[in-house]
């Protein structure tokens, strides 16, 4: 306490202020310098330009390249692997300096794939139970259908073409309606074809075709009608660009939804793909929320 009354305090306190000021300013003016590593830290096998190569990676690489446990590999084999890993690290560092991720499409693609794989890894490490797979199957049941097939005939009464140049659509429609009546009454195809001048378009094979092939061959308008027809049914006359069509369905096997047990493997793969996609989307959502993205006027994404 006597210090407070001593005359020297007039000097001591300002001197203290000078010292404190210098220390505080010094802390602001300087920052700790990064310390270069002079020895390989534990857990690493080498340092390349201060970048470490993990011992675990080295061990795994030795085992992959020699196809035997690490402890059984020879010093020469280990040296060879280490040399390769150091070379690879040097090349990767050079690639970073050359800014390959910004300039080379292949590198960019691989990096994007790598990030997605890393994000998905924890999700994919989880093995789904059968109950979860079944729930997923129930939600996406439509994806697991067996393809349907049709055995059918596509008959036509041409209009304005070279075969019946004078026939109008109205006349053809009237003839076709009569032909449909006859067919539904049990008349044979040959009879109806001969009597009304109908001919097969040849678009669909006689032996039957899968649904997608029928759609491809008939076109959307006729397929729409065929898709609803049952075995033995005869369609109403359908006017199309080339004439009036009549579809005669011999046999129609509709697409069926496969049961869970038969498509379990597919469900499993789809489940994992869906989980991976969800993880990627979540990651992108986070990245976008943290990013500053400016888009040029007139452009949109």
């Amino acid at each position: 306490m006597s210090f407070l009354y001593r005359p020297q305090r007039a000097l001591v306190l300002p001197a203290l202020a000078v010292a404190v000021g210098l220390v505080v300013a010094g802390i602001g003016l300087f920052r700790p310098a990064p310390r270069p590593l002079m020895a390989v830290p534990p857990g690493y096998v080498a340092l390349v330009n201060q970048k470490g190569i993990l011992f675990n990676d080295y061990r795994a690489q030795v085992e992959v390249e020699t196809a035997k446990p690490f402890t059984e590999s020879t010093p020469a084999e280990r040296s060879k692997v280490l040399r390769e890993m150091i070379n690879e690290e040097l090349l990767v560092q050079r690639a970073m300096v050359l800014d390959l991720p910004e300039t080379t499409n292949e590198v960019r693609t691989n990096m994007a794939v790598g990030v997605n794989a890393q994000v998905a890894a924890p999700v994919l490490a989880y093995e789904p139970t059968d109950a979860e797979l079944r729930a997923f199957y129930d939600k996406t049941r439509d994806k697991y259908t067996t393809p349907g097939s049709m055995t059918m005939h596509d008959l036509i009464l041409r209009v304005g073409g070279y075969q019946n140049a004078d026939q109008t659509t109205t006349q053809a429609l009237a003839d076709a309606a009569e032909a449909v009546y006859q067919l539904r009454a049990g008349a044979s195809l040959d009879y109806v074809e001969g009597h009304f001048g109908l001919s097969s378009t040849g678009r669909v094979a006689d032996g039957g075709e899968l649904d997608f092939a029928v759609k491809l061959h008939l076109g959307a308008k006729l397929y729409q009608v065929a898709a609803t027809m049952r075995d033995g049914e005869v369609s109403d006359p359908i006017v199309d660009l080339d004439g009036v069509h009549i579809l005669v369905m011999e046999r129609h096997d509709f697409p069926k939804i496969a049961d869970f047990t038969t498509v379990r493997d597919r469900v499993y793969l789809d489940y994992r793909t869906a989980a991976s996609n969800r993880a990627t989307e979540e990651n992108l959502k986070v990245l976008r929320s943290q990013a500053s993205i400016l888009i040029a006027p007139g452009q949109s994404e």
Binding site: A10, L11, L13, P14, A15, L16, A17, V18, A19, V20, G21, L22, V23, V24, A25, G26, I27, G28, L29, F30, R31, P32, A33, R35, M96, V97, L98, D99, E102, T103, T104
Partner: protein
């Protein structure tokens, strides 16, 4: 008083121009010679590049710099000019490198018809900043040699059958000389120190303080424990100049308490503003405020004894000595080379300081012999105003 204010303002305006000259202008190059190929890696601080190109958009800066470097960095040999080769893909002749957020990097490959009598030429930036320094490393025949490209030394001939000698101590001495000549803050500090000198022997204190500061800077830099924050460092040097100006003014005014409270108060206010505008500068400003308060009170109490102000001169010299190590890391120089550069630089600066002090003593002796009496109060007032003004300007402008 009115005329005094005008003089101070004129000094301030004159000094403002040179204020920017203080900013160090440096770049880095590595020339690797292998057979008939010469690879140049050129690094340039982003701030320097933007100042040079006057463009803020990185891609435009890079594009302009590429053309600029092709024009200003060349290699010649016995077979004539060595052209920069196209590096394939869509890179062209200059490959931009990714070398960190505060540096631009470029790589150019030169192919010579005849690899003998190689001459490297680097004239980049010297036309725009005569004090510019390029720290160069020449790699050939398995050896790496450190050299300097300066405005006076823009070409380098590589011997065909002998090792290239590294830049000598004289080159680094020149660096210190050039730095001091071009540094308005150093001149102001010397002026302030001279104005505070009351007796001839105190000139020795000034020299001792400068030497101590530079030696301490070298010692601290050699440990490699800390790195200075360069813009803040230069800003703080402005603060010290202003503080010395305030100390001079304090001797002359009737109410020294006003200065002893006003200047630290202003710094405290700046520290508060810095909380919102420049948080990284808070420590330096707060420290500066406390230091100023203590220093001004001590100066008032001990005004006839040169105890405290040489310490401030030493701090300034210490910071000045630390400015060079702050720009050396990208050059990736070996520790020994860095030490040699700092030694040469500090010795050069110190030698010029000593010469200037000697000159002042000479002039003073001459004037005394002729019985010329200086109007000291007037000189003190004008200089104190100019120093405070300039110092404050540097403090604020370098804070960004």
């Amino acid at each position: 008083m009115k005329s005094l204010a005008w003089i101070a303002l004129c000094c301030l305006a004159g000094g403002a121009g040179s204020a920017f000259a203080q900013n160090s202008s440096v770049s880095y190059s590595t020339w690797s010679v292998s057979g008939n190929m010469v690879t140049l890696r050129f690094l340039l601080p982003v701030t320097e590049a933007q100042r040079l190109m006057g463009v803020d958009v990185p891609t435009l800066t890079i594009s302009k710099l590429e053309d600029y470097l092709l024009q200003h960095d060349t290699v010649q040999s016995a077979g004539g000019d060595c052209p920069a080769i196209d590096q394939g893909f869509d890179l062209g002749r200059v490959d931009p490198l990714a070398v960190g957020s505060d540096l631009y990097g470029f790589e150019i490959f030169y192919r010579c018809k005849d690899p003998r009598q190689l001459v490297l030429r680097n004239s980049a930036l010297f036309g725009r900043a005569p004090s510019h320094i390029n720290f160069a490393r020449i790699q050939m025949r398995g050896q790496t040699v450190e050299q300097l490209f300066t405005a006076r030394h823009q070409t380098m001939s590589l011997p065909d059958d002998a090792a290239l000698p590294p830049a000598g101590l004289a080159a680094y001495l020149r660096l210190g000389f050039t730095h001091l000549i071009g540094s308005a803050a150093d001149w102001c500090l010397l002026l302030a120190a001279l104005l505070l000198v009351r007796h001839r022997r105190e000139l020795g204190y000034v020299f001792l303080a400068l030497s101590g500061g530079y030696v301490l800077a070298m010692a601290v830099s050699t440990t490699g424990w800390v790195l200075p924050r360069l813009p803040l460092l230069e800003s703080f040097m402005g603060l010290l100049v202003a503080l010395l100006g305030a100390a001079i003014a304090q001797r002359e005014v009737e109410n020294p308490r006003l200065i002893a409270m006003g200047w630290p108060g202003l710094l405290l206010l700046l520290a508060i503003v810095a909380v919102f505008r420049a948080p990284w500068a808070i420590g330096a400003l707060l420290g500066g405020a406390v230091l100023s308060a203590g220093f001004l009170v001590l100066s008032r109490e001990l005004k006839d004894r040169p105890v405290i102000w040489p310490g401030l001169v030493a701090v300034f010299a210490f910071l000045d000595g630390c400015a060079l190590p702050a720009v050396l890391p990208p050059a990736q120089l070996p520790q020994w080379t860095q030490l040699r550069i700092m030694l040469g630089f500090d010795l050069g600066a110190l030698l010029l300081d000593a010469m200037l002090l000697g000159l002042v003593i000479g002039v003073w002796l001459l004037l005394r012999a002729r019985r010329f009496v200086m109007p000291r109060p007037l000189v003190n007032d004008v200089c104190a105003a100019a120093l405070s003004g300039l110092g404050t300007f540097w403090l604020l402008s370098r804070l960004g």
